[in-house]
Symmetry: C2
């Protein structure tokens, strides 16, 4: 058994990450996480995708909301509203502690990579999870309401604005963390899995960092992706809506085409089995599986499918 890298963004990606963590040891699995959604709020450094993965892997996540912690309390934000503070971004009492701690360590000069490590260790996670970069990269949504920062588009505006273009500010000068490069050049690397996260909002910010994209292109291990589009719809979030707005055909083959020659393999949902031939024509190996992950078994089964597909590639 070799080493694997999973590339992930928000909730959908974290589900497969959890499945992979059920069958792979921390010595054999690491995560590269989107930080294009990171933003400063109430003076705090909030890193939504790093935290979604942390809460998911530590079984602290809220299964109802898809974000934040289970059994969370909201006394801070309710009180903040009473004192005139803005509340469109709901920060739970327990969750808030993570942002305060992260901010203090960053202000003390720590790398985000090292901050993430101590936060993950605090909740018992031994897997390595690296922010895509320690540099600031900001996903900006160019839309019919002008240029919106990610959280303003996603949370405050509820993804309603019509997307024209996505910009990953800072990506051109950002570099991946050295731990990523070490892992990707490890002779034992057996494969890279792009999790079923939103390609435009969660994965493209990562791929916009040129040394990450180059390293993925040049690595000897195969790269596969899991389609976040099932039957022409996104399981969660605005992926399908954005595809329509960007005039991308709204089906799983468009996701495979989007990642292009980065991919050696692609996992389609069972309902999209009929699209397998079209993807194979592009020279990409295909597996068909149940990709909608509701139970832990669903997550583990999809993780097994991913490892099997990587063996075929």
């Amino acid at each position: 058994m070799g080493k694997y890298l999973a590339i992930t963004g928000g909730v959908g990606g974290a589900k497969l990450a959890l499945g992979l963590a059920q069958i792979l040891d921390p010595t054999d699995l690491a995560f590269l996480v989107n930080t294009g959604d990171d933003f400063k709020h109430l003076g705090l450094h909030v890193a939504p995708d790093i935290d979604t993965l942390m809460y998911t892997l530590s079984h602290l996540s809220n299964p109802d909301t898809g974000w934040g912690r289970a059994g969370e309390s909201w006394n801070f934000i309710d009180s903040f509203a009473q004192f005139g503070g803005e509340t469109w971004f709901r920060l739970g009492d327990r969750d808030l502690a993570v942002h305060v701690r992260r901010t203090m360590l960053l202000e003390a000069g720590w790398r985000l990579t090292d901050v993430t490590k101590v936060l993950y260790q605090a909740v018992g996670i031994d897997y390595q999870a690296w922010p895509m970069t320690d540099a600031p990269v900001h996903t900006v949504i160019d839309c019919d309401k002008g240029s919106l920062s990610f959280q303003h588009y996603f949370v405050r505006e509820g993804c309603r604005p019509i997307v024209r273009r996505l910009v990953y500010e800072g990506a051109e000068s950002a570099q991946a963390v050295c731990e990523f490069h070490s892992w990707l050049t490890d002779p034992g690397l057996a494969g890279v899995i792009i999790c079923p996260s939103n390609p435009f909002l969660s994965i493209d910010p990562i791929l916009a960092i040129s040394d990450i994209k180059d390293a993925l292109h040049n690595c000897r291990a195969p790269v596969i992706a899991v389609s976040p589009i099932v039957g022409g719809e996104a399981i969660k979030g605005p992926t399908a809506k954005i595809m329509a707005e960007l005039n991308v055909p709204r089906d799983a083959t468009a996701i495979a085409a989007h990642y292009g020659d980065l991919l050696d393999g692609f996992i389609l949902d069972e309902v999209d089995a009929g699209l397998a031939g079209a993807v194979r024509l592009a020279g990409i190996q295909v597996a068909v599986a149940k990709t909608v992950m509701q139970t832990l078994d669903d997550k583990v089964n999809l993780a097994h499918t991913a490892l099997e597909l990587l063996e075929l590639c």
Copy 2:
């Protein structure tokens, strides 16, 4: 009925402040509050005495602890501990919102005076309460453990170190807020009440600001104080302990002597009625009352005594 100013620090002072607010309208009563205890913690501007008065006047205070809010929850600080944060200064979930809001407004360039006003209004307080200054003043405790900031001495070290000297850093260049000067030069001013707060830790930082001390000396209205020492002991906090360490006689007359010629009147507790003659010898009017305020009636009764004594002066 004229206008009154109450000078106050922490819990004891806030009790009399509440009594005064029961019998005087916001047009006739204002508060000058110690900010020597203010400090930056977790990147937040914490102003303990301003908040103690706010929670007391709005009936949100925790009667058991004497600080913070009633019915508070502690999920933030517990989570913060889990993530490796320091927890010697316990911040409640609801209370935390005040510090975040205050910090944001200060960083936006607001005066602490104006921040305090909007915070107080948010919980329905119409009384004016001014920080002693908008400038940073820090009470530093020179003690057998070296120089400690106020909160390190008071909270982290639990007042155990032996005090040698108190320093009010920044007081020499600080100025009172203009609202204070307007109030104190108002022809309707009928009196100033120094609440039964710790003279060394809560009142002296205020008096260390020269234009406050000068304005109190020069104002035509009488100035009185309520003894925080009852039967040689402090009702709460380290006042008596500090008096012993500073070689000040540990009784109420020493408090009157400490304020010296600033005072026109002094309120002694019933148990100290025997000291009245000694205080009067110094040319200070004396009232004897129940100064230990347990019930709201106790607070109101002491407030009435204060106003009556001011009429006599």
